[in-house]
Amino acid sequence: MASTYNEKGTPSSATLSVRALHKSFGVLPVLKGIDLHVQRSEMVFVLGPSGSGKSTMLRCCNLLEEPDSGAILIEGDKLTGPGVDLNKMRQRIGMVFQSFNLYPHLSALGNVTLALRRVLKMPREQAESEAIAALTKVGLSNRAGHFPSQLSGGQQQRVAIARALALKPTVMLFDEPTSALDPELVGDVLDVMRDVKEQGMTMLVVSHEMKFARDAADRVVFMDGGVIVEQGPPEQIFGAPTQERTRTFLSRFHG
C-alpha cells in the first residue's frame, strides 16, 4: 500500500480517484466498494446494466450523492471531510447530465456565463467572451442568443458541455449524455466529446455508446451489482473479456 500511494493517499498521478466507495439507498446497497483511478487526459468509459450503480458512482464523484463511506480525490485533494470547500472543489469537476438540465429562463450564453459571473465573479464582458469561446468549441457560437426551448436536443447537450467546459474543470463527468437524444443527433454530441478529449480533458463517461467507447475510450470499466467486474483497454474488454458477466452483457449488444 505505502509504495503505491503518495502522502495524500492516492496513486501519485491520478487526476480523479475513487477509493473504497460504498453507498446504499435505504437498505439497498448500490455501491459495494468501488476503487477507480482516472489519469490525466484519460477517457474512461463505464459500462454496465441498469441498476449496476454506474450513475450513482458518477454522481458521488461531485457529491450530488453523498457516499456512505470511501473517498473521492481530485488531484489528491479530498472532496469530503472537515474544512473542505465543496463549492470550490466542484468548480474543478464539470458535469454533463442525461437530461441536459439547461436553465430554461436563460439563453445559451446566459447558461454558460451564470457560473462564470456568480461563482468566479468575472465581469460581464470577460464572462461573455469566455462563454463565446466555450460555445465556439462546441460549434454553437451562432446560437448564443437562443433559449434552450429553441434548440434541438443535441444542441442543448452541446450547450451543457460548454457550460461545464467554461469553468475549465480538471475532470469532466458525463452521465449518459446521449441517452435522451434522437439517434440522428447523437453523432454531434459524440464529436464534441471527442474534441474535448483531444484537447486533453480528463473524462469519466457513463454511457451505452459501445461503438464510441471502442473508438475513443482509453479504458473501459464494466460494473455490475455495485462492483467493478473488470476493466481494461477497449480492445480487451470488447474483444476478449475475461469475466462471464461481461460477456453476457456485451453479447446483448452484439445481437
Binding site: 472543489m89 466542484r90 438540465n101 451543457a160
Partner: protein
C-alpha cells in the same frame, strides 16, 4: 324597475358620493401599496423556509402558514385592533390593517411561492450546484426565476384577492373605499354609493384579471 334604478343606480347620489369614495380609493390603494409588497416578500421568505432542509426552520414556516391561513382575516383584524390595547399596545387602524393583512397575505403568498419552488425540476439545482454555485446562489439565480414564472398567474390572482380583501379594513373604521361608500349609503338611505365603489373595483382590477388570463393561456400552450 324604477325603484331599482332609484335605489342602486342613482346618478345624482353617485356624483355626491364621488369625492368621499375617491378619497376612500386613495386609502385602499395605499393599503395595497404597503400590504402587497410586504406580503409577497414575507410569503417568499416563508416559502423558502418551508422547503428548508432544517427541520426546525421548515416546521416553523409551515406552522406560520397554516395558522394564518386558518384564521379568518376579519377575526385577525379585530383581534389586532381591539385586542392588543388590552396588552398595552395602542396602534392606529392603518397599522392594525397593515399588520393583519401582512400576516394573512404572507401565508397565502407563501403557498403560491412554495408550489412554484417545488415545480422546478431537481436537475436544475443539481446542474447549478455542479458548477460550484452555493445553495443561496442556486435559489436566487436558478430556482426562483423559474418558480415565479411558473406561478405568475396565481401570484396575480392573489393580488386581486388582496385588493378586494382590503374592504375588510372598514371594520376597524379605516376610511378605505367601501367604508366611505357605506358611510354615504347610511347618510342617504341609498345603495348607489356601493355600486359606485363596485364599479371602481372593476375598473381597478379588470386589466389585472385580463392579464392573468393572458398569462394562463400562454402557459397552457
Amino acid at each position: 324597475m324604477e325603484a331599482i334604478i332609484q335605489q342602486f343606480f342613482n346618478i345624482e347620489i353617485m356624483i355626491k358620493a364621488l369625492p368621499l369614495v375617491l378619497k376612500g380609493l386613495g386609502v385602499t390603494l395605499l393599503i395595497c401599496a404597503v400590504v402587497i409588497p410586504l406580503g409577497a416578500l414575507g410569503g417568499l421568505f416563508a416559502a423558502i423556509a418551508s422547503v428548508s432542509k432544517n427541520r426546525a426552520v421548515r416546521w416553523t414556516a409551515i406552522g406560520f402558514v397554516d395558522l394564518f391561513r386558518a384564521i379568518p382575516p376579519l377575526v385577525l383584524l379585530i383581534f389586532i385592533y381591539a385586542g392588543l390595547p388590552f396588552a398595552g399596545i395602542q396602534i392606529s387602524p392603518f397599522v392594525a390593517v397593515a399588520v393583519g393583512f401582512f400576516l394573512n397575505n404572507s401565508a397565502y403568498f407563501a403557498e403560491v411561492f412554495r408550489a412554484g419552488i417545488l415545480s422546478v425540476p431537481k436537475g436544475q439545482t443539481e446542474a447549478a450546484r455542479s458548477t460550484g454555485m452555493t445553495q443561496g446562489q442556486t435559489l436566487f439565480w436558478v430556482t426562483l426565476p423559474q418558480a415565479v414564472r411558473n406561478v405568475l398567474p396565481d401570484l396575480l390572482s392573489n393580488v386581486v384577492e388582496v385588493v378586494k380583501l382590503t374592504s375588510l379594513a372598514s371594520v376597524v373604521s379605516l376610511g378605505e373605499m367601501l367604508h366611505a361608500a357605506g358611510l354615504v349609503r347610511s347618510l342617504t338611505y341609498n345603495a348607489s354609493p356601493l355600486v359606485l365603489a363596485a364599479g371602481l373595483y372593476l375598473v381597478l382590477l379588470w386589466p389585472l384579471i385580463r392579464l392573468i388570463s393572458r398569462f394562463e393561456r400562454k402557459i397552457d400552450t
